[in-house]
Symmetry: C2
DNA sequence: CTTATTTATCGTATTATTGCGATCAATTTT
DNA sequence: AAAATTGATCGCAATAATACGATAAATAAG
């Protein structure tokens, strides 16, 4: 399908799934790693570091912006990308809360 | 495309992306939440709790098993699912390391 | 042995994602 | 003004993911 029935889940579940998508592709992981460590900021630098075409990198950046985890500040003709800290922290807490919630269990 | 060029990224980046996929769908988030919060394993209860067909739930479980984050212990004719703690902790550390690595930055 | 129960898998349809060349838009440089 | 630079967007192609009905497989129950 591809028809994700988001309306059938809680907002929290849907949001966490969306945040996870930011990390669900190696190229986006690489971008987020670079931005978190301030190795790059300008779009062109990201393109140089990644083994992907400029159009493809731009699409990944667009997706990360949609999720909100990065910002893009225009500094013509460049665009400077950086981590959007509030959303970064939202992800940190959302993943942390779930991953720390495991009730240790030797199952079955 | 859909052709993810995994060979062009580091193993670490590819693995984190794969772990993120476990959380990148609301249904899988719901499954993981249920398993993490139960001391006992859950079997067919998952299908009852989710607004999805049995075949669809089974596919999500298969994907989670592929990633390794859950185990399925056969107890015929049932299968008892639970969190696979080593991989769960791998995810906890992988996300934690990255999300805690942010060099606070008002960029640009 | 037959039937019921439970889960996996197959086949299929549909939508989403990924990728890139080409082009556009905005701005800077010459 | 013309050319160069930078990044976004369009259009297309191909693969991946999502969903479900139908069916298979395995075992328990009768």
């Amino acid at each position: 399908m591809g028809v994700t029935k988001t309306e059938l889940f809680t907002d929290e579940q849907t949001r966490l799934a969306d945040l996870a998508k930011a990390f669900a592709h190696p190229a986006r992981v690489a971008i987020l790693q670079m931005l978190a460590q301030k190795k790059a900021c300008v779009c062109g630098d990201l393109v140089d570091e990644l083994p992907l075409a400029q159009a493809t990198v731009s699409q990944h950046l667009k997706e990360l912006k949609r999720i909100g985890i990065i910002r893009g500040d225009i500094d013509p003709p460049r665009v400077c990308y950086c981590i959007n800290e509030p959303v970064w922290n939202e992800a940190r807490h959302a993943f942390g809360d779930l991953l720390d919630s495991l009730i240790s269990t030797s199952c079955c």
